[in-house]
């Protein structure tokens, strides 16, 4: 190591590169174990995954992941863990779709109204965990997990018994369709203008743009505002934060409620952009995959965007593995190994950085 002093940039790059290499090795071993060629697998995935139809699906998969990951990152940064995003986004999307179909408003305002409904429901649902934590000392990890089960049951019950649109005869239980003013326009017309051709079953959720804006807001609030600092301080050292004047109970409650409010939006890309209703086909598991997205993206606005896109890409492109007779679940192994190796790689790099700094410091101190 003598004479070698890695720059900050190289260090920042070291962890993701190391993690990628390790996870490729692990995934390859998994494919090899089924007596298939990993090279073929990656080639097929790449070829299929980079078609414009797949890329659109990748964006559509990544958008809810990203929004949900931001919700989770809010709590991570505050030293909390909201596992309940799945339930919050489900209830948010359902109430948003149900109530949003009951009125007609001018286009943009209608969409905003639905978003506010979804945020309110998601926020309230998470606030239950916040209340229990602050007033009763219940771990938010436990309560949000349990609230997920409740949300699942509650949404099934409400959809089947209260919210279902009985005016149309369909096997798919669904809420009434949201009027056109409340539908988020697709980005396809815009892409057409840029020279992208229509794809069968294609289309890109307009909420993608919203997710980008949300990412910028998240970055700014967390890194550049007093509230963001106090939230991070509560996560970094709760006792010091309290001494510094942060009302720790209020911060815990606010962080969870805010996280839930953002989570409430994560189900909307598909509801507002595609189905225009909440139905039984509503995607499950977004809130759990988003935990991995947040972890991989280091709770950082840009990092989470990259990891959401990566997860979207893997999920979509791995569907092609069936074509060459490899289990598409290989994707799950890839996801898991990327997550695990990156968490480890980041920790190794973090420790190395501290050692570097300490050495640098020894020089300064003993000079």
């Amino acid at each position: 190591m003598k004479g070698f002093k890695p720059s900050g940039f190289l260090l920042a790059l070291a962890a993701p590169v190391a993690a990628a290499v390790v996870s490729i090795i692990i995934s390859s071993l998994a494919v090899l174990a089924t007596h298939k060629s990993p090279i073929d697998a990656y080639k097929t995935m790449w070829e299929f995954g980079t078609t414009s139809g797949s890329l659109m699906q990748m964006l559509n998969t990544a958008t809810p992941y990203y929004i949900a990951a931001i919700a989770i990152a809010i709590t991570f940064r505050a030293g909390l863990f909201n596992i309940g995003v799945e339930g919050q986004l489900r209830l948010g999307a359902m109430f948003g779709a149900y109530l949003g179909a009951m009125f007609v408003l001018p286009p943009v305002i209608h969409i905003l109204a639905i978003m506010v409904i979804a945020m309110t429901i998601g926020g309230l649902w998470a606030a239950i965990a916040g209340y229990l934590k602050v007033k009763r000392g219940v771990s938010e990890v436990i309560s949000t997990i349990m609230l997920n089960s409740l949300a699942g049951g509650l949404s099934s019950y409400l959809l089947a018994n209260r919210f279902m649109d009985r005016t149309t005869a369909s096997n798919n239980m669904s809420t009434k369709e949201i009027p056109a003013s409340g539908q988020f326009p697709d980005l396809m017309p815009l892409l057409n203008k840029l020279g992208v051709e229509d794809q069968p079953g294609g289309g890109v959720y307009g909420m993608l743009l919203f997710a980008v804006v949300l990412g910028v807001i998240f970055w700014f609030v967390i890194n550049r505002t007093r509230f963001g600092f106090e939230l991070r301080a509560s996560g970094a050292n709760p006792i010091a934060a309290r001494v510094s004047g942060v009302n720790s109970k209020r911060m815990t409650f606010v962080a969870l409620a805010l996280s839930g409010a953002v989570a409430g939006l994560a189900g909307l890309p598909a509801v507002l952009g595609d189905t225009h209703a909440f139905n039984m086909g509503f995607r499950t598991g977004i809130g759990f995959s988003a935990i991995a997205v947040a972890l991989l993206g280091r709770n950082n606005a840009v990092g989470m965007a990259i990891s959401a896109l990566l997860f979207g890409f893997l999920e979509v492109s791995s569907r092609s593995l069936e074509l060459i007779d490899i289990a598409p679940e290989t994707y799950v192994i890839m996801q898991g190994s990327i997550l695990l190796s990156s968490v480890i790689a980041y920790e190794v790099v973090r420790r190395y950085k501290i050692t570097l700094q300490s050495n640098e410091l020894a020089k300064v101190a003993e000079a």
């Binding site: 934060a241 001494v243 004047g245 300490s358």
Partner: protein
């Protein structure tokens, strides 16, 4: 007696800087040899070299007369050198036995031979007077007992030369006595002990020989019976010691802080944590709070800062602040140097510039309204580092990388920079070296002259007497005496603290 370890003319250069220059010391078997020096004097480099964590550029290490070259700590362990770290490295959810054998488990086939390990540990513990129940979980142990486990861990690996890195920093007096008894036992068993410490009175109590390092070099090796603490300290800093003292009366008419019958009741109905405390503190005045630790000082501080509910009334610059939150009180101009800097005053894994914000998140220059001014914060952090002699590469250095003394100077700088009307300084020089201590006293003196009111809580009686205009003695939560520091000796203050006077 033979020489267990000898360092000869060790030099270590980090790129551009000489960390150790011509360090020599020789430790005999059956003795306790103290290594003292200020933070940054090079003690830790010496220790790291001896424990194989770093390699010297030149010079020799001899263990039992044979030259050795350590590549890593494992080599040092093989040469029977062991290190008892300041911060314990134990797994809480493992038993004492499991912790001790962790990493060098005796095997029986493929399984761990717990019976053999237990037998060996029990025998070892008895031999060295380090009795402990091997089957209790470490999480159930107190600090002193955890240290005992650390020592056993080192002995279990066959160490005959033991390095203790600031072992008393985390102990209460009773535990210190136990540790010293244990050291006595180890010495009698022919161990060589290297004892690294700041606390010179402890060094003189336990050590046979003392090596002093200053600016990377060994400047003296003396017999502890031939020196006083003061002489040792002067060898460490290379000049006369800073004195805790203030000059003249800077007290102004304005009453900055006024406590009126303040009590904190326990919820369980036991003795009040603090009871019926009343006093006035004027601007430009220092009131020293003396007392054996745990007699209500910490609670008094928490009441003043608003961290704890109390009865009675506290007013600041003439108006009651009882209904105000912690944040409001900060905003009014109450600064705080906390007792435990790492727990209460810093975010250890954040850079210094972010730590600059802590406790000041509603004031300039770090905030403009609700928006954080990163550039101004970094500039101001650099200013604090320069003015208060915080030795670190820059504002982006993580707080955890700094030595304790530098962390403390940073906190003092941060709090004084706000120019608070009232500064609550809780053990402001605890655990910092002599140089930093002098610097902190100087800052407090200057702040007092400018009219700052200071509540000084300390366990250092000379500091209390030297820095205070007035002394209040706390015992079992109540103020039991008020003393004039000019007419009080440490002995008198000490007996007042225990209620003997």
């Amino acid at each position: 007696m033979s020489v267990a370890v000898e360092l000869r003319h060790i030099s270590k250069r980090f790129p551009g800087v000489l960390a150790n220059k011509d360090v020599s010391m020789s430790v005999e078997t059956g003795t306790v040899h103290a290594l003292v020096g200020e933070n940054g004097a090079g003690k830790s480099t010496v220790m790291k070299i001896l424990y194989g964590m770093q390699r010297p550029d030149s010079g020799e290490i001899l263990v039992n007369g044979r030259a050795v070259h350590f590549k890593n700590p494992n080599d040092a362990i093989d040469a029977s050198i062991g290190m008892v770290h300041q911060h314990f490295m134990l797994a809480d959810n493992f038993t004492v036995l499991e912790n001790i054998i962790l990493g060098s488990e005796p095997k029986k086939g493929v399984t761990i031979d717990f019976a053999a390990a237990r037998e060996k540990i029990v025998a070892m513990a008895a031999q060295y007077g380090l009795e402990i129940d091997p089957d209790v979980l470490v999480e159930a142990l107190g600090v002193g007992q955890r240290q005992r486990v650390e020592i056993l861990k080192v002995l279990y690996r066959g160490a005959r030369i033991l390095i203790f890195d600031e072992p008393t920093a985390v102990l209460v007096p009773q535990e210190v006595d136990d540790l010293f008894n244990a050291l006595e036992g180890l010495r009698e068993q022919g161990m060589a002990i290297i004892f690294i410490s700041h606390k010179l009175d402890e060094v003189l109590r336990v050590a046979d020989d003392v090596t002093v390092v200053r600016q990377g070099s060994t400047v003296a090796e003396v017999k502890s019976k031939d020196v006083t603490a003061r002489q040792l300290a002067e060898l460490m800093v290379g000049s006369e010691l800073p004195q805790p003292s203030t000059q003249g009366v800077t007290r102004r008419d304005l009453v900055a802080l006024s406590l009126n019958d303040v009590s904190i009741l326990t919820s369980t109905g036991g003795r009040d944590l603090i009871s019926h405390i009343s006093f006035n503190l004027h601007a430009g005045e220092v009131v020293g709070i003396a007392g054996v630790e745990g007699n209500g000082q910490a609670e008094l501080v928490e009441a003043i800062l608003g961290l704890r509910d109390y009865t009675g009334s506290i007013s600041f610059n003439g108006s009651a602040i009882d209904h105000l939150s912690v944040a409001h009180r900060h905003d009014l101009g109450i600064g705080f140097i906390p007792e435990d800097r790492q727990r209460q005053g810093l975010m250890m894994n954040s850079p210094l510039w972010e730590n600059r914000i802590l406790g000041h998140q509603r004031s300039k220059p770090v905030m403009r309204g609700f928006i954080l001014d990163k550039k101004a914060t970094i500039t101001d952090t650099a200013r604090i580092m320069a003015e208060f002699d915080v030795r670190a590469p820059g504002p982006h250095t993580l707080a955890t990388a700094l030595s304790g003394g530098n962390q403390q100077k940073f906190i003092v700088g941060r709090e004084i920079s706000k120019a608070p009307a009232l500064l609550v300084a809780s053990h402001p020089t605890r655990g910092v070296d002599v140089g930093a201590q002098g610097a902190i006293w100087e800052e407090l003196r200057r702040a007092r002259e400018k009219g700052m009111a200071i509540v000084l809580i300390s366990a250092d009686l000379e500091e209390l007497i030297g820095m205070s205009d007035r002394l209040l003695v706390m015992l079992r939560g109540a103020v039991t005496a008020e003393l004039d520091p000019a007419k009080t000796t440490p002995e008198q203050l000490g007996s007042a603290m225990t209620g003997a006077a």
